[in-house]
């Protein structure tokens, strides 16, 4: 259901652009107004989300410890899985953000006869890491459209990515990787009944939008060619706030529209996990709550409870009867 909706939405995007640019010729709208607006929404939205989260206190140190705590010198502790100070927390976060540490731990449970067994299952980790790194590389690569002269590292990256001369222009390896990874991420949602059950339209939509973005990009590079010089004149115009919509094929506008849609969608969807992961209290805190005094949340009030003296009054008889000491201090204070 969700997948169908997402597919229809994405196809609608294509049709909208096709009608808007191909037929109505609204190049200014689709080339300039929408991208700028989407970028603003993205920028402001993301910053807003971060501020929104940051305004909420973290009242307790609810670290998820996945390794030995710091205790005795002779006990080997796990700095990464049970960080004791901020430096170790940073290391843990780096592993989490750059290596997807937690997904790497993934297992797959299986019932075999009377036994429950756990297999190693790193496919999700592999798919996720392939997708994210490929996406990031593609993003960096696109910097060649936003700079002149193009910085050397970007050019080197481009050359490494197109190291194997397949087709002309050369096929980027990241293009292949991201398509494969997206396909895996999509198919697993369909193939595994559990995942199909939990997947919402808003899980398929970003996948499909990125599919659209990637496919339109690949089509533009290899099949429905556009004049890349004009495209760059346009992108350079964008960053100089002096854009002129290029007279190129609709495919380019489809590409730009998918990008805009994705940017605008970002802050309001699950895609905020990109920033949210940094705000996760189970990962970004140190496991030192017995050693270091932390500030309680501003709203936190010390609890009211039955004090010893009140309690002693209530159980005085039994205490005396069973020979337990009576605290005379309770009466002195009064």
């Amino acid at each position: 259901m969700g997948a169908v909706f997402a597919l229809v939405t994405v196809l609608a995007f294509v049709i909208v652009v096709y009608v808007g640019v191909g037929i109505a010729g609204l190049r200014g709208l689709f080339g300039i107004v929408i991208p700028y607006a989407a970028f603003l929404v993205f920028l402001i939205g993301m910053v807003y989300r971060m501020i929104e989260w940051a305004k909420i206190p973290v009242p307790f140190r609810i670290v998820t410890t996945c390794g030995q705590q710091k205790s005795f010198r002779w006990v080997k502790r796990s700095r990464l899985e049970s960080p004791y100070n901020n430096f170790e927390v940073v290391l843990r976060m780096i592993l989490e953000v750059f290596a997807f540490r937690s997904l790497f731990r993934n297992l797959k449970a299986e019932i075999k006869g009377p036994n429950l067994i756990y297999g190693s299952y790193k496919w999700l980790w592999l798919g996720a890491i392939a997708f994210h790194y490929a996406f990031f590389t593609i993003l960096l690569r696109h910097f060649r459209f936003f700079s002149y002269p193009v910085p050397e590292p970007i050019q080197i990256l481009d050359q490494i990515d197109s190291f194997f001369h397949i087709g002309l222009p050369h096929l980027y390896m990241t293009d292949v990787v991201i398509l494969a990874a997206l396909t895996f991420l999509f198919l697993r949602r369909l193939a595994d009944p559990k995942l199909r059950y939990i997947s919402l339209a808003s899980d398929y939509l970003p996948l499909f939008m990125i599919y659209g973005l990637v496919i339109s990009g690949i089509l533009m590079r290899h099949f429905f060619k556009v004049d890349v010089t004009q495209v760059k004149e346009f992108t350079m115009g964008l960053v100089h706030f002096n854009p002129k919509a290029p007279q190129v094929g609709v495919i380019f506008y489809i590409h730009i529209f998918f990008l805009s849609a994705l940017m605008a969608y970002f802050p309001f969807s699950k895609l905020v996990h990109m920033l949210g992961v940094f705000f996760s209290p189970t990962r970004n805190l140190a496991n030192n709550s017995r050693a270091v005094r932390h500030q309680p949340a501003p709203w936190w009030k010390k609890p009211k409870f039955k004090t010893y003296c009140e309690w002693q009054e209530e159980f005085k008889e039994q205490l005396i009867e069973s020979g337990q000491p009576i605290d005379e201090d309770c009466y002195e204070k009064k």
């Binding site: 790497f104 190693s120 190291f163």
Partner: protein, 386 residues
């Protein structure tokens, strides 16, 4: 399972970093080669294949040898090889990876590597070699990984993997056969133009690969609790012995054919390798060393007392490994090119960058093997199997 390779002792990490560093040094020289061209190697117009292709050829043999433990275990249910098969398969993964890397560095236009796939050419042996090598890599990945995964889960390996295991057995023979056909099918290279080329390849593979496996197992045994058991080691030693004898026998057949028939073109490369031609004799000491080592090993392996001496065995294996490595890694390829088809003599010796790149690839291969072995041992440990 991979996470098991990410935790280990200081010694393990020292080895990993050492191999990675060596690989990076090799990679640095490869970048130089990419920039300058293959001219930084010792290869020439006349000896147009050298150290890289030779190493490739040798390692295909090492890879193919996995079948020497897989076959008895899976086909004949030889239980003593139970713990050894995974190590054999993982050695094959490392060896095939090295093979592929040696091809990558040997190619003049690395960028166009995928042309082999983009323009498939069924009449080229190289096309088949590409298929069988990658196929063998995949088969060993599937079989080795699934077998280990079953250990990890505490179950038996799943049924679907059985066809792959059975397929991997003939496939192992195929990789070395096809690689032999690369050479054996060329007109004008009389040294290679022989029907026993493929059998010779297989014989040398089935002694050198298991010998290397045994050496690795001895190393693993020294540093971990892993022990394949004396029976397995003895059985493997027998395999090495017979294969080594076959290898020497087939070489003898070559000598007979060349010298009894008296056909000069069949003799000339052999003469160059073992006696030198017109004063060109760079490879002569190497070749004699090679055959001396193999013969010594053969004699000592045939005698049961020395073969069953488990302290001596790894050294005999070392003799086999070095002997076959020189024979195939230097003599066979270079011998085919000297003299050249026009009967000029250009000698060949690898250059420093060429050797460094090769060492880098060996480091990469052994890094893969180290990581895979570490994983296998840790998984077995976690299940209390060792």
């Amino acid at each position: 399972m991979l996470e098991k390779a990410l935790v280990g002792s200081k010694k393990y990490w020292a080895l990993v970093f050492f191999l990675a560093a060596v690989f990076l040094v090799g990679f640095f020289f490869f970048l130089k080669q990419l920039k300058y061209g293959l001219g930084i190697t010792g290869m020439s117009r006349d000896v147009s294949w050298g150290f890289y292709v030779a190493q490739f050829t040798y390692l295909v043999g090492v890879a193919a040898s996995a079948v020497m433990v897989v076959l008895p275990y899976y086909l004949h249910n030889y239980k003593d090889y139970g713990k050894l098969t995974i190590f054999g398969e993982f050695l094959a993964i490392g060896a095939v990876t090295m093979c592929l890397l040696f091809i990558v560095v040997d190619i003049g236009q690395t960028h166009r590597l995928f042309n082999v796939l983009l323009h498939p050419t069924p009449h080229s042996m190289l096309f088949y070699d590409m298929i069988v090598l990658n196929g063998y890599l995949l088969l060993n990945l599937i079989c080795g990984w699934t077998a280990l995964h079953a250990v990890y889960k505490g179950t038996k390996y799943p049924d679907w993997v059985k066809p792959f295991i059975y397929l991997s057995i003939p496939w192992a023979f195929s990789i070395h056969t096809v690689t032999a056909f690369l050479y054996a099918g060329l007109p004008g290279r009389h040294f290679w133009l022989t029907a026993v080329m493929a059998p010779r390849f297989l014989a040398s593979a089935f002694c050198s690969g298991p010998a290397l496996l045994l050496i690795l197992i001895y190393i693993v045994k020294a540093f971990t609790r892993f022990d394949p058991g004396e029976k397995a080691i003895r059985a493997l030693a027998k395999t090495i012995t017979y294969a080594l004898l076959a290898n020497l026998f087939l070489f003898g057949c070559e000598l007979f054919t060349a010298f009894y028939s008296g056909i000069p073109s069949h003799q000339i490369s052999l003469k160059y390798l073992f006696a030198g031609l017109y004063g060109h004799m760079k490879l002569v000491p190497w070749m004699w060393a090679s055959y001396a080592l193999m013969l010594t090993a053969a004699i000592l392996l045939v005698i049961p007392q020395t073969r069953n001496n488990l302290g001596l065995l790894p050294f005999l294996c070392l003799l086999v490994v070095i002997g076959t490595w020189i024979d195939k890694g230097m003599g066979l390829i270079v011998g085919g090119f000297v003299p050249n088809p026009l009967e000029h003599i250009t000698e060949y010796m690898p250059t420093f960058p060429e050797v460094m790149i090769s060492i880098g690839i060996y480091a990469a291969g052994f890094l893969i093997i180290t990581v895979l072995y570490k994983m296998a041992i840790s998984v077995m440990e976690s299940r209390g199997l060792i």
